[in-house]
């Protein structure tokens, strides 16, 4: 479904990605793990058009999207739920969801989808007229996910969805992401919590210093010596 082939990205003169290749198949839940600064977020930003690669190729559903605009990529069916939630704090909950559906014109279905989000998270429905910045961290995360789903994506990209959340909200967030995946939406997720990321995924890619160091099924990586030592805190 999504093929990232040998992409290189730069911030100014610094190379942050060296020939990174990642692929996601229809219906999968794929995770990217790695240390801070390994290039996980940059990979996601390259896919959604915020950081166009200087070389390499990205294609989605057979179409080349390497240098496409974020808008075009969204219209193709990729939604990006950014790191740190990034909800619009001074806009209401409802306006945030409306912006999520910005490229759509089907008013009736937009209203239905919005009701769907409120049904799944009644607290968002209760606070629909409230500024989103007044929500708790967990509620903001639910809003950010709901907003990403408002574009009716085929693939959702999650960047560190558990970041800064209380433990009970972390589990709720992961549960919700797995639920979205079970309902047929393909998921690509970056997650700092390597153990959770490997447990819930179909396949995972390990990024180290801007390169893919390992990839494979989650259950295999979880048993890998290198992964255990470096990312799962295994002393043995």
């Amino acid at each position: 479904m999504l093929e990232v082939e040998n992409i290189e990205c730069r911030y100014g003169k610094a190379n942050v990605l060296h020939k990174v290749s990642v692929d996601v198949k229809q219906g999968e839940l794929v995770t990217l793990i790695g240390a801070n600064g390994a290039g996980k977020s940059s990979t996601l930003r390259a896919i959604s058009g915020l950081l166009p690669p200087v070389s390499g190729r990205i294609s989605f559903l057979g179409e080349d999207i390497t240098n496409a605009s974020p808008r075009r990529i969204l219209e193709m069916g990729i939604a990006h739920c950014p790191e740190g939630r990034r909800i619009f704090p001074f806009m209401t909950v409802e306006e945030n969801l409306e912006i999520g559906a910005y490229r759509r014109n089907d008013r009736k279905q937009i209203a239905d989808d919005m009701d769907g989000v409120y049904h799944r998270f009644p607290v968002l429905g209760e606070r629909r007229g409230q500024a989103a910045g007044t929500l708790s961290g967990g509620e903001q995360q639910m809003l950010a996910i709901g907003r990403a789903l408002m574009s009716r994506p085929k693939l959702v990209i999650f960047d560190e969805p558990s970041l800064g959340l209380a433990p009970n909200n972390v589990q709720k967030t992961f549960d919700y992401i797995m639920e979205i995946n079970r309902q047929g939406t393909t998921v690509l997720m970056v997650e700092q919590n390597a153990y959770a990321a490997l447990e819930m995924c179909d396949r995972s890619f390990l990024l180290e210093s801007g390169q893919i160091a390992l990839h494979g099924r989650g259950e295999d990586l979880i048993r890998d010596q290198h992964v255990r030592r470096a990312y799962l805190g295994d002393e043995g």
């Binding site: 808008r71 939604a79 990034r86 001074f90 806009m91 306006e95 910005y102 490229r103």
Partner: protein, 290 residues
């Protein structure tokens, strides 16, 4: 008492046009981070367009004002498209210098086209002022007030209620995330600069017939607009609206009770005081558009 009320009424009328100027400027800064030194030239442009259409071409006065506002919007769009679009991602200082260049070019262009001789624009309103008990107001000023308030409400409605306005606010709050939601940032910037310019042009179109029209009229206007924006807190539209009225009140009462020669200095004295006491502006508690 009469004098006090008269000053108050004058200040409210003048304040409505100051608010118009300030809102346009703060709106452009808030969303685009562009310090628009050409703002005063759009004000001048609006006044000259009313002169052109109403006096030279003999178009109906009200229609001439509407045309001036529309042309101001178009000129703003043209400036954004030709100058600012190429400077996307440049730092604030660079765009500031370019806008200072635009200011100088536009002002000299006006001088070239219209000459330095001041022009006046007759209004179709009755000479007899509107009498409100203790105070009286010229009909032409009542008109300015009504139109200015209507335009402020219109701008507010666009920003709060429309799809475009929501996209503008989203862009203001988080540009990258707005782009991820499929918002075309270029379109938002174009619309923002056009709308802000239209408001400046409207202020000039409204005040031109009340005062006189000359190429340098924008200089004081842009300075005052900056003062208003600083008073209200950068990027804060409600703050700019209130700032406009505060500045007009200070000027009007300063001129009335202290010294009329220091009318324009009063406002800047106020800015200095505000900056000393509350450098973020009076209403900068939550920086926001809307």
């Amino acid at each position: 008492m009469e004098q006090l009320l008269q000053h108050l009424v004058n200040a409210i009328i003048l304040g409505s046009t100051y608010a118009l100027l300030g809102i346009g400027l703060t709106f452009i800064f808030g969303i685009m981070r562009v310090v628009n030194f050409a703002h005063g030239e759009l004000y001048t442009f609006g006044a000259y367009m009313v002169y052109l259409f109403s006096v030279i071409l003999g178009v109906n006065f009200l229609l001439a004002i509407a045309i001036a506002i529309v042309l101001g919007v178009l000129l703003g769009a043209a400036i954004e498209y030709t100058l600012l679009r190429k400077l996307r991602g440049a730092d604030v200082d660079t765009t500031m210098l370019v806008m200072i260049g635009a200011w100088i070019i536009m002002q000299n262009g006006e001088q070239l086209i219209w000459s330095g001789v001041a022009k006046s624009i007759p209004t179709p309103f009755p000479e007899e002022p509107l009498s409100l008990g203790l105070v009286s107001v010229a009909w032409s000023r009542v008109f300015v007030f009504v139109v200015a308030i209507a335009l402020i409400i219109l701008a507010q409605t666009i920003i709060q209620r429309t799809r475009l306005g929501k996209a503008m606010r989203a862009t203001f709050q988080d540009r990258d995330t707005a782009a991820l939601m499929g918002i075309n940032i270029n379109v938002i910037y174009l619309a923002t600069f056009a709308l802000g310019s239209g408001l400046a042009s409207a202020a000039g179109a409204l005040l031109g017939p009340i005062f006189i029209v000359m190429p340098t009229m924008g200089n004081l206007a842009v300075l005052k607009a900056f003062a208003i924006v600083i008073l209200g807190g950068l990027g804060n539209m409600k703050g700019a609206a209130i700032g406009g009225f505060v500045l007009a009140l200070v000027e009007e009462f300063g001129a009335g009770y202290v010294s009329s020669g220091y009318r324009d200095a009063m406002g800047f004295l106020l800015i200095i005081l505000v900056l000393m006491v509350k450098p973020t502006g009076l209403f900068a508690r939550s920086e926001r558009i809307g």
